[in-house]
């Protein structure tokens, strides 16, 4: 992990404040989440107080401080998907996997991210697991899908 941070920071040698978000994005893309160490290192590199970085990272949906699960579930809660029932899918996951938006299950298998409009409203509610899309229309078919995934474990 340290090596990755080193690499990213090296690429952004003389970066200013405006590179803060791109740097965090790249680090998160490669490590999977942000950590305290990332914040400290980036803060030293850019000479920005850590609180500013923490405040910034918690402002945006993209950044997370918990590692993604083995299966990262994204559910679209855009207007159209909502009208078509994404609410029940989210409710199902919250209840059965006991995770909320942005969280990872205790055993590290599932994590949930609720997003707004994935741009494919015709197939709503849209759900993707590890960037693979599924046309799962109701909690029952979602249950089947999740059961299948957890049985593989």
């Amino acid at each position: 992990m340290e090596k990755i941070i080193d690499e990213v920071l090296e690429q952004n040698g003389h970066a200013g404040m405006d590179s803060l978000i791109p740097i965090l994005q790249e680090i998160q893309d490669r490590i999977g989440c942000l950590t305290e160490e990332v914040i400290i290192r980036v803060s030293e590199h850019l000479n920005v107080p850590t609180s500013k970085i923490y405040g910034l990272a918690t402002f945006y949906n993209q950044f997370r401080f918990e590692k993604k699960g083995k299966y990262h579930i994204r559910i679209c809660n855009g207007t159209s998907c909502r009208l078509n029932g994404s609410k029940w899918l989210i409710e199902y996951i919250e209840k059965n996997l006991k995770i909320k938006n942005g969280e990872t299950s205790r055993n590290g298998i599932f994590s949930l991210e609720v997003v707004n409009c994935m741009g494919a409203c015709e197939f709503g509610p849209v759900i993707s697991i590890n960037d693979q899309f599924y046309k799962t229309q109701d909690p029952d078919s979602l249950k089947e899908l999740l059961d299948e995934l957890s049985n593989e474990e």
């Binding site: 200013g16 404040m17 405006d18 590179s19 803060l20 978000i21 791109p22 965090l24 994005q25 920005v48 500013k52 405040g55 910034l56 402002f59 945006y60 949906n61 993209q62 950044f63 809660n77 855009g78 207007t79 159209s80 909502r82 009208l83 078509n84 997003v115 707004n116 409009c117 994935m118 741009g119 494919a120 409203c121 015709e122 197939f123 709503g124 849209v126 899309f133 046309k135």
Partner: protein, 650 residues
């Protein structure tokens, strides 16, 4: 066999040498001939086109592509596979088109991977599967297919005015030459040679183009303001954040015709004398980002971007910045904050970004659609543009239509057409359902009732009736949608997406959400103050909405109460039903359901009565049970428990 994506090196040389130097004027024949080959007017080998966009990706377009590759390889066919964008017919994705030598190009819808072999088997034998075929392109020189409607005659296309979407679905978005072949970059060449920045600003001012991002501000005026601030560097920002949770037209426009946006950006930047342009695009839109990155790379390759563009002495760099995701970052000052590496909290205006924007430099923020309009205005002239649309609103407007409509689509209609055009293009609601409303403009928009559909599309035209045109996200609502639930959804969205800076927006939205939540829930305890709270809340709603509009710092808070106020006005009965009768006619507010037991089905097994948390179910074992309505809290546990499907709700 891999899909053909880019141009080949010799093709690039040819275009750079034989076409680009002549783009500013009428093309000589030699150049036209070169380009004709890239328009696929006539083909020597069959070409299979697949629309690959975010929306078709979810529909399985990548699998379809694999299947086609496999089919071509296995049958050792001499054919080409080309990626194209989207026609806007989202419900028919994945769409596959085939062009055989001598025949017109023909489109098929819903071609999933399993449908590929039968489709291609047929088409290569001269037979177009009727259940899949959608339309064919008209041509004077090619032989048409029988019994397939022409594209231009299809109501879906005939009722649109496709200016920005002219190329969408037709050209390969990852090949700049095709864009040039369809008339691209001529506006840029002409402008750089003939007009000064000042002239471009003047032309756009005369065109009365208004921002498509939601505000409707006159684009020329904004540019002029920035141009007049003395500075050695100015910045143009293309706002591609598209943060409205139900809109996807900017995204699909970029995915289908990215070069149009790039050309527009270069022209807009030229107009304000900017040397740097930034595109702010949501990080989640990976395909969109890929397309625009590729487009920029190619534009550099062709000398259309970078240092000394087309030998004009004007230089511009375009940088892509990925937005880390926050609705407010669509607001221009918040967007600038985000670009500067800060929390995306809007700042007070004045100073406006045109004076003091990104990095303290004069900055213009424009929406993707606004920018995409520029090339055509400059190429075809101001008169051409002002002839489109109405007195006050010129040009066209793109909409993305989704929700409970029969078809999900993204469309472009001329200003001045009635709103019902949108409804018709989406093919109405599903059979058996009744149309309730058309929600225009997402969380800062309003639901439009069926009676209001006759109003013409336009900024002032709609504003007269208290309807903001918004950015173009449209949802069709039918009777399965509960208006209370929908407004609650929007308020929930605002409460989470508000930046949290100012009191009216942060606390007001939170408060309003709680009030709405309260009326869509049952009291879990029978304490009387719950009921009282509900009434008190409802009385507050309107004052709260007014204060929020009056005092919020940015557009988010100022417009956040719009859906609620309009819904309260147009669908008052539905709200009253929730408040007084404690009923949700769409059965969406689950708490308000009351459960009943079907006497014919109930065996009296007692299972539900034992599980009921409020002990609302009574009866004698082995004879039918019943639910005491007053006690039922609508949790639905009895329904889940019953093995005989005897429980139902109203």
């Amino acid at each position: 066999m891999k899909p053909v994506l880019f141009y080949k090196e010799p093709e690039k040389e040819q275009v750079i040498n034989e076409v680009i130097p002549y783009l500013h004027d009428d093309l000589p024949d030699s150049a036209s001939k070169v380009l004709s080959a890239f328009r696929n007017d006539r083909v020597k080998i069959p070409i299979v086109y697949v629309g690959l966009t975010t929306s078709s990706e979810v529909g399985g377009a990548r699998k379809t592509i694999e299947a086609i590759e496999k089919y071509i390889d296995e049958n050792e066919l001499d054919a080409k596979l080309v990626i194209v964008g989207s026609h806007g017919l989202c419900s028919y994705e994945p769409i596959v088109e085939v062009q055989l030598p001598g025949k017109t190009r023909v489109a098929f819808g819903k071609v999933t991977e399993n449908a590929v072999p039968p489709l291609l088997d047929g088409i290569f034998n001269g037979y177009a599967l009727p259940e899949l075929s959608l339309f064919q392109y008209s041509s004077d020189i090619l032989e048409p297919w029988a019994h397939i409607p022409l594209r231009d005659e299809l109501p879906f296309f005939a009722n649109q005015q496709r200016v920005l979407l002219k190329n969408a679905g037709i050209i390969n978005p990852e090949n700049i030459i095709e864009y040039i072949a369809y008339g691209g970059y001529r506006a840029l060449a002409k402008t750089l040679r003939k007009y000064t920045s000042d002239t471009v600003c003047r032309l756009v001012e005369e065109s009365e183009l208004r921002g498509r991002g939601g505000g409707g501000f006159l684009t020329g005026k904004k540019w002029r303001a920035a141009l007049e601030v003395p500075a050695n560097e100015r910045i143009l920002i293309c706002n591609a954040d598209e943060s409205d949770p139900g809109a996807f037209m900017d995204r699909l426009l970029i995915e289908s015709d990215p070069q149009r946006v790039i050309e527009g950006i270069i022209l807009s930047a030229y107009a304000i004398g900017a040397s740097k342009a930034l595109i702010y695009i949501r990080n989640l839109y990976s395909l969109t980002t890929h397309r625009i990155e590729e487009a920029i790379r190619q534009a550099y390759d062709f000398g259309l971007l970078g240092y000394n563009i087309l030998d004009s002495g004007y230089s511009l760099d375009i940088v892509i910045r990925k937005g880390p995701g926050a609705y407010v970052c669509g607001e221009e000052t918040a967007l600038i904050k985000s670009l500067e590496g800060k929390r995306g909290m809007p700042s007070i205006k004045p100073p406006f970004p045109t004076e003091h924007g990104y990095d303290g430099k004069p900055t213009v923020v424009n929406n993707v659609e606004t920018i995409a309009n520029i090339p055509d205005i400059l190429l075809n002239g101001v008169e051409w543009f002002t002839a489109l649309g109405t007195e006050k609103s010129k040009g066209t407007k793109m909409f993305s239509v989704s929700g409970k409509s029969n078809e999900t689509c993204f469309i472009e209609v001329e200003m001045g057409k009635p709103l019902s055009v949108i409804y018709d293009l989406a093919n109405g609601v599903k059979s058996g359902r009744t149309f309730k409303a058309l929600h225009l403009g997402g969380p800062s928009g309003v639901p439009v009732t069926p009676e209001e559909l006759e109003f013409p599309i336009g900024f002032e035209e709609l504003q007269e009736h208290g309807i903001p045109l918004g950015s173009g996200g449209v949802q069709i609502l039918d009777d399965t949608v509960c208006m209370v639930d929908l407004t609650k959804y929007f308020m929930h969205f605002i409460r989470n997406e508000s930046c949290g800076k100012c009191i009216p927006c942060r606390e007001g939205s939170n408060r309003m959400y709680k009030i709405l939540d309260n009326i869509s829930r049952r009291p879990y305890s029978n304490e009387s103050h719950n009921t009282l709270e509900r009434f008190k809340g409802v009385i507050q709603l309107e004052t709260l909405a007014e204060v929020m509009r009056d005092t919020s710092l940015c557009g988010l808070g100022q417009t956040a109460s719009k859906p609620l106020l309009k819904a309260l006005k147009s669908f008052r009965d539905e709200f009253e039903e929730h408040i007084f009768d404690r009923k949700c006619r769409a059965s969406v507010c689950r708490d308000l359901r009351t459960f009943y037991i079907d006497v014919d089905k109930c065996t009296g097994c007692t299972a539900c009565a034992r599980k009921c948390p409020t002990k609302a179910i009574f009866g004698t074992p082995r004879s039918p049970y019943f639910v005491v309505e007053e006690k039922c809290i609508g949790c639905g546990i009895c329904m889940d428990t019953c093995k005989f499907s005897a429980v139902y709700f109203k």
